[in-house]
Amino acid sequence: MLGFVIQRLGQAFVVMFCTSILVFVGVYAIGNPIDVLISPDATQEIRDQLMTRYGFDLPLYQQYFGFVDRLLHHDFGTSLVFNIPVTELILNRLPATLELTLVAVLGAALIGIPLGMYAGYRPAGAPARIIMALSTVGFSVPTFWIGLVLIFTFSVTLGWLPAGDRGETVRFLGADWSVFTLDGWRHLLLPAANLALFKLSLMIRLARAGTRELMLTDTIKFARASGQSEWTLLRRHVLRLISIPLVAVFGLELGSTLAFAVVTETIYSWPGLGKLIIDSIFSLDRPVMLAYLILVAFLFIVINLLVDISYAALDPRLRRKA
C-alpha cells in the first residue's frame, strides 16, 4: 500500500511539473506576458520596472525558473482591480468557497447515497420512482436556474431566507467561517442546497444503479443463502461495493462542484473564489485569472491523487499494481 501511495505521489509531482510548463507556455502564447501582470494603460516606466523585476528580458528557460520560483513563494503579483497581492486576495476568499463547497458536498453524499440505495433496493416501488423522477429533474436543471427558483420561492415569495451574501462569521484558525453561527447557516442554506442539488441527484442515480446491479449478483445471493439479513446485505456488502465507483465519481465531481460554485456564488453574491474569478474575467484582472488557474490545476492534481489512493484503499484488488 505504501509503495502504491509513493508511486502515485511521484506521478502527481510529474503532472504538476507538466502543468506548470503548460501554464507557463500558455501565458506566453496568449501574448506578451507583461500584459498578464499589469494594466494595459500602465506607463512605460512601470513596464520597464516590471520587466527587469520579473526578468522578462532573460532567456526563456531562466524565465521559467523565475516563474516556478515565484510560484513556490506564492508570488502571483498584484491584483489590478483590488491593488493587493493576489495571494492575499485569494486566501481571503477561500474560506467562503470552502465552506460552501464542503457543506454542499457532504450534504449531497449523506442524503443521496441512502436515498439511492433505497431506490435501487426496491426499484419498482412508488417511493423509488418518485426519488428517481426528482433526481432526473435535479440532474437536468442547470444550476443557475435552480438558484433562480430557490431565490424566488424562499426569498421573494416566502421571505424565509435571505437572497444573498454571507452571514455572520467567527474567526477560527486564522480565517473567518460562517458555519459556526446560526445567521451564517441562514445565509448558507440556499446556496449550499443549490450547489448540492446536481451532486445529490448524481449520487442518488449512481447509488441506485450500483445497488440494483449488485442485488442481482451471486455475491448477494450467496450472502443471503447463508442467512444474512437484508439490512446486513445492504450495509456490509452493497454499500462497501458501491463505494468504489461512488468515491471515484465523488472525487471527480468535487472539481465540478468547485466549478459550479462559480455560478452559485455569482447568483447569491457569495464572496468566494468563484465570484472572484467571474469578476476578474470581466474586469480583465489577469494576475487573478492566472493565479486561479494554477490554484485550480493544483487542486485537481491533489484531488486526483486522493481519489486514486481511496480507490486502492477500498478495492484490495488494485493494491497489487505497483
Binding site: 449478483t217 451471486d218 455475491t219 445471493k221 450467496f222 450472502a223 443471503r224 443463502a225 447463508s226 442467512g227 444474512q228 439479513s229 446486513t232 456490509r236 456488502h237 462497501r240 461495493l241 468504489i244 477500498l314 478495492d315 484490495p316 484488488r317
Partner: protein, 323 residues
C-alpha cells in the same frame, strides 16, 4: 426412517412479459439423512431453479406457485421470510458455481465468514476465529489461521471454492445444496474437490444435493440420481440402478452420449433435437418430440410411477434388463 427432506409437487414459475415460464413444474423427491442426491439435467432443465427454490432464493418475477418442501419438520415453501432466514445458512446451506462471483472481492475471508456466522447469533471474535480455522482446515486449506486476512483474489480457483464450502459448513447444516460446484474449476481441481466433498459428507453425515449437467461427475458421488427434463424429474432412483439399467429413454440417451461409453474412433451418439422452450411446453410428455419410442399415448403427460426402486415419468419405459 423419516426423510430429512421431502419435496412434493414443487412448481416454480417465472412470470415474464412473454408468458409464464414453468422452470420447475411438479418436482417430487426425498432425501434421507446423510444421503447424496445428484440432480442432473441439461441447461434449462430446471435443476438450478429447484436448488434455489429449496432455499427460497427465488426472486420476482419468479415464484413458487405450489408444492411443499418438508425439511426438519417444517414446510419451507410456507414459511415467512424471517423464519426462512433462520433456516438458511444454519440448517440448510448452498454452494454456488463460480466462487469468484460468490465471494465478496472487497472483504477478507475472515470478514465474510464472520458475517455468515453472526447471521445466526452473536459470537465473540476469538470464538469466531477458532471456528473459521476449524472449518477451513476441514475443507483442506493449509495454514488456515494465517490466511484469514486474505482476500478472495489471493486464492486460486479451487481454494476459493473450498472457502465457499467452508462457509456453507459453518453452522453444521444437515443439508447442503451444491449448484455445479466444480463446473467453473480446472479439471484436475474438479476431481480433487469431488473427492474431498465425498469424504466430508461421509464424515459429517451431511446430506448433499449435487446439481450438475455432467452425469459422469455425479455418478461417483451420489447415492441417488434424479434426472430432470423441461422442469420435471423424468427418472430418479439409486445410482447404480440408473446407470446400469436406465428406464427412461432420456436417461438412456444421456448415458449413451457420455464419451467414456463410446470406443475411440466411433461417432459419439447424441439425442436429436432440442429441449423445448419453457414458455411453450407441449401438453403431453415434454420429451416426446425427441423420443424414438413416442406414440399417441405420449400426448398425455406421464405421471410419476414407481417401477421397483425407480420413479419414472414415461409411458414407454425401457426394459428392465442390463444395458
Amino acid at each position: 426412517m423419516t426423510p430429512l427432506l421431502e419435496v412434493t409437487d414443487l412448481a416454480t414459475h417465472f412470470l415474464t412479459r412473454a408468458g409464464a415460464m414453468k422452470a420447475v413444474d411438479g418436482v417430487s423427491f426425498q432425501l434421507a439423512p446423510g444421503q447424496v442426491l445428484g440432480l442432473v439435467g441439461e441447461s434449462g432443465s430446471g435443476k438450478t431453479v429447484t436448488g434455489f427454490s429449496l432455499l427460497r432464493l427465488i426472486e420476482p418475477p419468479g415464484r413458487i406457485v405450489r408444492g411443499a418442501i418438508r425439511f426438519e419438520g417444517q414446510d419451507l415453501a410456507a414459511l415467512d421470510e424471517r423464519a426462512m432466514r433462520r433456516v438458511r445458512g444454519k440448517r440448510l446451506s448452498m454452494v454456488f458455481q463460480d466462487p469468484m462471483m460468490t465471494l465478496n472481492p472487497v472483504l477478507t475471508i475472515l470478514q465474510q465468514m464472520t458475517l455468515a456466522l453472526r447471521a445466526h447469533g452473536r459470537l465473540p471474535l476469538p470464538r469466531i476465529k477458532d471456528r473459521c480455522v476449524e472449518v477451513l482446515t476441514l475443507v483442506g486449506i493449509p495454514g488456515a489461521a494465517g490466511r484469514l486476512d486474505a482476500y478472495p483474489h489471493e486464492f486460486s480457483g479451487g481454494m476459493r471454492q473450498r472457502v465457499a464450502i467452508a462457509i456453507a459448513l459453518l453452522h453444521e447444516p444437515s443439508l447442503i445444496v451444491a449448484d455445479e460446484p466444480t463446473t467453473a474449476l480446472d479439471v484436475s481441481v474438479q476431481a480433487q474437490i469431488l473427492a474431498e466433498m465425498r469424504d466430508l459428507v461421509g464424515r459429517l453425515g451431511t446430506s448433499l444435493i449435487w446439481i450438475s449437467h455432467d452425469l459422469a461427475t455425479v455418478s461417483s458421488l451420489a447415492d441417488r440420481i434424479a434426472v430432470m427434463y423441461a422442469g420435471r424429474i423424468v427418472e430418479q432412483g439409486p445410482t447404480s440402478q440408473l446407470l446400469r439399467r436406465p428406464r427412461h429413454p432420456y436417461t438412456r440417451g444421456l448415458l449413451d452420449s457420455l464419451p467414456s461409453r463410446t470406443p475411440p474412433g466411433r461417432e459419439l451418439p447424441h439425442i436429436p433435437g432440442m429441449m423445448p422452450s419453457l414458455l411453450a411446453l407441449p401438453p403431453g410428455c415434454a420429451y416426446a418430440p425427441r423420443c424414438p419410442r413416442a406414440d399417441a399415448r405420449c400426448a398425455a403427460a406421464p405421471e410419476p410411477t414407481a417401477l421397483g426402486a425407480v420413479v419414472l415419468r414415461c409411458h414407454h419405459p425401457l426394459e428392465a434388463s442390463a444395458s
